[in-house]
Symmetry: C2
Subunit: 326 residues, 2 copies
């Protein structure tokens, strides 16, 4: 199934079901918002499945989907936890920064980010200053049902309700400053963006394997190809990230868990999912990085398609704007 949230003037928007091809939508029965849907999932699942089936059969009562009316599928959530599960990404940045080449340890890396707002797929992305090193991070994420504290990885995959595509906007100049304190990132991590469609794992078919999204993440910057890295190379599957997150806390329904920047060992062929990693590759190859961070007017697009050409999550297509205040 495919869920999309349309702007109705409220903070949480109005939940809709979308057809598999993303062309038509109907308001979801039984839950006004995706957050409410996640808290009452089993009560309404059969209803939504019937709505989805009718949409795919060409439901005459459905409205055409217009991307500009879409909010993030989950415009705000109670929790956003972002992992860093791609070893190639870690190794490249360690090498570029002159750190020991240790890659990822057996303990997943994860931080708690802001969850009160996920930007719509086509909204302008506003930042206070280009001097902060504006970067994107393309990643896949999962949205969970309630997960009790202490849930082991072996039982965690079944808690995954939906899969999403996320741009985790980052302000790179602030990153090292905040990391050095040990308190982690705050100013460095403004609101993320989400592609419009949140999909159930079965929509991925064989591309959902071992709790990993085995699809290329297609990133274009200012209309030029930037990255095509595959999400399947996570060192830890999402089930292992869930178990890590739930060690000392219950995870509420609607928790969003991110994979971290998608990266592949074949980066010379597939490119990168953020500018910082591309800079690292340039630094290693040429002794200096060439690619600049973003500035006003720069455009970032992200997409992922299945083998049969379905654009699964719809596009993120945003432009950067510098603005001292909103």
């Amino acid at each position: 199934m495919k869920f999309v949230t349309l702007d109705d003037g409220s903070r949480d928007g109005r939940l809709h079901i979308a057809s598999r091809d993303g062309q038509r939508v109907v308001p979801a029965d039984g839950a006004r918002t995706l957050l409410a849907a996640l808290e009452t999932w089993d009560d309404h699942l059969a209803t939504w499945q019937a709505q989805y089936d009718r949409l795919n059969d060409g439901d005459a009562g459905a409205a055409p989907f217009a991307l500009e009316t879409a909010l993030a599928p989950l415009p705000r959530a109670w929790q956003w936890l972002d992992g860093s599960a791609f070893e190639t990404h870690a190794l490249l940045l360690q090498k570029a920064w002159g750190q020991p080449q240790v890659g990822l340890s057996e303990r997943p890396l994860m931080y708690q980010g802001m969850s009160d707002r996920f930007l719509p797929p086509q909204s302008v992305a506003r930042f206070p200053s280009a001097a902060d090193g504006i970067d994107f991070e393309g990643e896949f994420g999962v949205i969970l049902r309630d997960v009790p504290m202490g849930t082991p990885a072996s039982l965690a995959a079944r808690a995954i309700r939906l899969i999403v595509l996320i741009n985790d906007w980052s302000l790179r100049a602030l990153g090292p400053v905040e990391m050095a304190t040990g308190f982690g990132w705050l100013q460095c991590k403004p609101a993320c963006s989400m592609a419009p469609f949140a999909v159930t794992p079965d929509e991925l078919g064989a591309a959902w394997h071992d709790a990993r999204v085995c699809l290329p993440l297609r990133i274009d910057v200012n209309g030029q190809p930037f990255g095509r890295a595959n999400g399947g190379e996570m060192k830890f599957g999402f089930h292992e990230l869930i178990a890590h997150a739930a060690y000392s806390r219950d995870l509420p329904a609607g928790t969003i868990l991110g994979s971290g920047t998608v990266a592949n060992a074949s980066y010379e062929d597939v490119g990168s999912s953020c500018i910082a990693e591309r800079q690292a590759i340039e630094l290693i190859a040429h002794g200096a990085s060439r690619s600049p961070f973003l500035n006003s007017g720069d455009r970032v697009e992200m997409r992922a398609s299945t083998a049969d050409g379905v654009e699964l999550f719809g596009p993120i297509d945003q432009s950067v704007e510098i603005s001292a205040s909103t």
Copy 2:
């Protein structure tokens, strides 16, 4: 005014107004939950003030307040940001850990914590293992209205709607491990607890000064006095913490901002607000720390009273329980 949220079986509870002495309560008109109240504050403020005045005049229709029915005043919120604004706390831990005695820099320390659950004032506090170094952190916090990105400190104090008393439970053995990654705390910071009453700043009278809570935070452990440190010694006022948090993001109504562990330069007289700091003092004085972290059955109480004896926030009174799962 004084707000309290009573358990009605829902995740957000039912908002009530409490009398100044905390003895009587009535359901708040116009908003079912504190989160909804914070999003519609100005529409209902006069109504709540009238309810509060009637309560203090001895409203015959009010119910007696029973602490065991209280949830946290804000049982879940969209954002919880915790500062570390007491220089004595920083200096003591730096000295104990053999780090440079730099205290706090001009840049506030702050991390993003879990906001999806704040424990009720009398609930059991469950943790997976006593080996993780179970500790409390007594602190004051503020709850905000919407704050736009880029709001300067000079305009930020007016965004403070309510003041609360928080126990920021911490798992100390996990702290250094998570700090070393630069990603900040996650497993180390399970759900916090809140005292039952959230109060408007005017309730503090002269004790609300320069956006600081100038009151002693009374902490007892297993019935013995542990700390009486005053919240007024923050290096940064809450207005400065708000401006720091809002540098690259809007803060949503309901954001909770914490002071960090309350600590005073006169710690030999007033004690500490967490065990880790007391251990640091012992280490400095005697070459070894003596005070153990908490274990099953240990009891932690926190309170703060005004000069005229009003117990402003009501008590936190919790016991620790070790439980591999909830």
